[in-house]
Symmetry: C2
Subunit: 132 residues, 2 copies
DNA sequence: TCTATATTAAACCTTATGGTTGAATATGAT
DNA sequence: ATCATATTCAACCATAAGGTTTAATATAGA
């Protein structure tokens, strides 16, 4: 069984919980950027943006290499892969839902086709109880 | 293009950034549980656990239905799907890395096979510059 | 009705977070 | 040397977060 590195996931998910930081990651996805380049689009002091970058760095989502007086930041996606792996376990549950949704839609289509000839439709399907 | 609901992602990622809450979700993945059932394994007051559940609920990750005096919580995975979708954009970047890693490993294998006959190996490959 | 159970609410505490401003540091250019 | 540029550091502030404890609320059962 996969053991998830909790502190890492804590840091990654926390880093992702802020829209500024998510936007920064997105901007890094096209190419590397310096701290000031990263900071520019946000209505925020440089120092503020710098802090966000450090959060990303601490979570392992950004790597930086200093070149003279400029710090160049690059996306480091591996930790995102870990987060996704954690999420992947839950795919079965939303797939389940989507399957149900598909069933419902199909049932509605059928009902709709029928409605022309007969009365209004009923609730399509009940899901089997998830029991212990 | 997909527009991501920022407040939702904020809440979901924030909810996931806490190990207690992730554990709760995991425990809900087998079957529904009452608040006290959910709280039991954690070294924490009921009120504390209750707060965590509310965070999960606010993020749309847990749904509850009240039955008499007990509140029954169930996993609601759809919001996790949204989070994963956000993450999926970045797959290309870690895949890239993994591809590189595979290239490197292959090159090392080749070099290793060669080393028996010839001299020591060289650096395998340089990656094309990611430029704007 | 009285009492036990399940859960939240409210008040409180400590620490983290997101932000600011004003130095400090380090490098580049003249 | 001097001045400008790139970035962080430190101190500060307001609010959020994670936790506690002690009521309060609601339902179940005797």
């Amino acid at each position: 069984m996969v053991e998830y590195d909790t502190p890492t996931l804590d840091a990654v998910f926390h880093a992702l919980s802020d829209p500024t930081r998510r936007a920064m990651l997105h901007r890094l996805s096209t190419h590397e950027r310096t701290v000031s380049e990263l900071a520019t689009p946000f209505n925020m002091s440089l120092a503020g943006a710098s802090k966000h970058i450090k959060v990303l760095e601490a979570a392992g989502l950004v790597r930086r290499h200093v070149q003279g007086r400029t710090h160049i930041c690059a996306l480091q996606a591996v930790r995102l892969a870990e987060a996704q792996e954690w999420l992947r376990y839950y795919e079965q549950f939303w797939d389940e839902r989507l399957d149900d949704l598909e069933d419902i839609l199909r049932a509605e289509d059928r009902a709709l086709a029928d409605t022309a000839k007969h009365g209004p439709r009923k609730v399509p399907k009940s899901k089997p109880d998830t029991k212990e």
